[in-house]
Symmetry: C2
Subunit: 479 residues, 2 copies
């Protein structure tokens, strides 16, 4: 498409590196003695069709990377080479891919897709995830909103299988907590949608018009958040923003110039764990063979193309780099890998969930291979591994974790507060949300104070409207 | 699954016959001189995974019916044998299949999937349909409800990609027409869902409990309607039921014993046309070669198994026949084909839309083959046909029809009234809904009277509630 830049998502690139790191750790350990895990990584470009093109290859009898795919239609007659799939990120992509992998019951473990419907095991029998269902996230959000005494809020979501289900689920949780939803705005999922500018403007006008609404829940893709926030800063909008998992820890968003004028950002991220080995991995990345890693090569090209900008501009430069400028700059890759930049951009929840995905699969393979010779790549079928995977139990940060009956991993959430420290916005860990107890846990008194201070942010406004809100709540019961 | 009966859907079987009939008409005409259309028909069993198994075959270089599929991953390098796909019925199945056919931009024309999101050409670029989007159906329903003076209604929908989008869309249309929704109930899409009985009971209790609600909009799969209605009849429920396209003309439902006690059924069906040639086709079906038609063979087995029942019980017997009884009865197929029974079960809107799907594809092929030798089955690629198909114009019942910019065919709806005639429920054509004018057109004064009589059905109840409803509407504005 002419004029359309490429978007290199540092955060997703880091997830691919985390997957490689976790696989290398397994291969360098004694866990699977005599067996080496192989892998291929495909870029979905966040597009279903692109992802389906890759997923079709996974059904093949042979290596997925061959240019010709051959498979038998009688699925009980053969064993595909690929035994498990990790991904995708966006729920809509994950769902479509899952429909295809069902044909061979190839286990698919997503590190990020949290849409509630993916818990439906009639529709998605071979799908698992190392993160909880959004059912819990919307409950946690409604609880935070209720505890902070806010009860008149707006929602903006991306119009896809993530945003729609989240909106629906949040609506139910909000009602249960006597939180009223003043407006719901949906933005088209694709930048190529011709209505996107009009819809962003419409959402924006709603925010300005509804002056009584001071808290906005945002279930959006990162690039939508970027657009909306840049506009909001220009117009001096000041609100409380509740961030969903997919952007709550987005360093790129937190570095938008003058972001602190936007008000308060508080969000939910998938529970992180100890990812220190990944930091070490990034620091030694330059010493690794990289000719086969296309993503790493692309990152290096981007670093070259952005060699002229200051460190704090790097993220922005990489995001806006066009294919043309990359072509031009190719060859000049005498840069370092800027591991400090990579480490600064880590969203720990996603790195942790990616590593968990690899680990659960490795442990399931160990279980599977106890009584057969897995040096033969066709020693077991994907559906057999799926059965083992469902029962796997591993230890993570001294806690045992496993998939529940719906294939979800109920690790919980970190509650993040975007805080101004020395003039810069830093994304800080304010609390943990415990799914089982439906409650917030604070590491110390300072954090607890931060949490309860949220309440004060808009108390004055709340008091003016409280009567009208309760009246509405009462009358709209049957709706 | 043990104990799970097979469901032979007469109505879907009739759609496969309509497709065969339309193809034979084309092949026996001079439209495509020198070219014969071939076809294969796969049973999706209303399941996405089953449908995906078939759809993967369509990507193959060779005949889809071969047991081994081979295709190149570079999609510009080869031409698959299949040039166009008709189906599926359920929107959820259609959407998943479409995601796969996108890989080769194979044109897919559905005769029944009406979910609004299928109009999204970024997500579904190779999808077209010979029926309108549910956007219009929900608008027509809200208009009928408003014109009849009803403004306090309930909705029950199947929890799938058809029901969810319809619910959302109807909610918007209802609000625009000052119609309030007292409750929304969703039923699981699959009988194998362990919660289905509890959910049907819950919906049912809601109907009983909300005595003020006398009009219920039903966006459900036929087997759900069967279940709910059988229960409702036992409990003497009497309501106005607004039927969506997929069950408004269901003869099987209209023949439930004591159905007339349920109250009034008024529904929307895709606009029908002249399908008299299909009646003739059914009458001569016995004289056709049928060894390759598995569905016809299955139908004959069912007729044998049900040879002992009376004609009015036949539908029920066929629906409840288990695989076991079929095995047992195999071989005894000395029956006629009961074409009168088949004709009585026709749902004209679906037959018409199926025939339109074949015709549009045939005309697009003619267009495509004007300047090349299409005796070579690889003379053109599916994506080329898609471009022709988008522009095809054909004449249907003296009107020109074509796909709009979103790939939808805006033929309109027939408004059906289930009427007691000589003690039997008959499904009658009461009006036509014109999409462009957003208005109802009546063939004669009697039908018009029928329409305006709907209003009287529950006037007394409406008057009691009208004040409360308006108050609610006013106060809930910002919701």
């Amino acid at each position: 498409m002419p004029g359309r830049g490429i978007f290199f998502e540092i955060q997703v690139f880091l997830q691919t590196l985390a997957m490689i790191h976790a696989i290398e750790m397994i291969n360098n350990s004694t866990l699977l003695s005599g067996i080496t895990l192989g892998y291929e990584i495909y870029d979905t470009c966040a597009e279903v069709t692109k992802a389906m093109g890759a997923a079709v290859r996974f059904l093949s009898k042979f290596n997925a990377s061959k240019d010709e795919v051959e498979f038998k239609c009688n699925y009980s007659d053969y064993t595909p080479r690929v035994k498990a799939v990790i991904g995708a990120s966006y729920s809509e992509v994950t769902m479509s891919v899952s429909r295809l992998l069902n044909l061979q019951l190839i286990p698919q473990v997503s590190q990020a897709s949290s849409s509630e419907i993916l818990s439906d095991k009639i529709r998605f029998p071979s799908f698992l995830r190392t993160v909880p269902s959004d059912l819990y996230q919307t409950r946690a959000m409604a609880r935070l909103i209720h505890m902070s005494g806010w009860n008149w809020i707006g929602i903006i979501a991306t119009d896809d299988d993530y945003g729609r289900f989240a909106l629906e689920s949040f609506g139910i949780q909000a009602m249960a907590n006597n939180v009223c939803i003043a407006y719901k705005e949906m933005l088209p999922a694709f930048l190529s949608d011709s209505t996107i500018n009009a819809k962003v403007n419409q959402a924006f006008e709603k925010i300005i018009e509804e002056t009584r609404v001071n808290v906005i829940v945002v279930f959006m893709r990162q690039f939508h958040v970027m657009r909306l926030f840049q506009k909001a800063i220009e117009r001096n909008i000041n609100k409380v923003w509740i961030a969903s998992d997919n952007w709550s820890a987005a360093v790129k968003v937190s570095m938008i110039p003058y972001i602190k004028r936007l008000g308060t950002v508080v969000g939910f991220a998938f529970k992180s764990g100890n990812i220190s080995t990944f930091h070490d991995f990034l620091k030694t990345l330059h010493a690794k063979p990289m000719e086969n890693n296309k993503f790493l090569n692309e990152y290096m090209l981007l670093l070259s193309a952005c060699a002229h900008v200051k460190d704090q501009e790097l993220n922005n430069c990489i995001s806006n780099c066009t294919q043309e400028s990359l072509m031009y700059k190719a060859g000049e890759n005498n840069q370092t890998l800027k591991d400090d930049f990579l480490i600064a951009n880590i969203e720990p929840g996603f790195i942790h969930s990616t590593m968990l995905a690899v680990q659960t699969i490795a442990y399931a393979i160990r279980e599977q291979c106890q009584d057969r010779n897995c040096k033969n790549p066709f020693a077991f079928a994907p559906w057999e591994l799926l059965e083992k995977l469902k029962k796997v139990k591993i230890t993570d940060s001294e806690k045992e974790v496993h998939f529940d009956a719906k294939g979800d991993m109920n690790t919980g959430y970190d509650v993040l507060l975007w805080k101004e420290i020395n003039g810069q916005i830093e994304i800080t860990n304010m609390a943990e949300y415990d799914l089982q107890k439906d409650d917030f846990i604070f590491p110390d008194e300072e954090k607890k104070t931060d949490f309860f201070n949220l309440k004060r942010t808009i108390t004055a406004i709340r008091q003016i409207w409280i009567t009208a809100i309760y009246a509405t709540t009462k009358l709209t019961g049957p709706l």
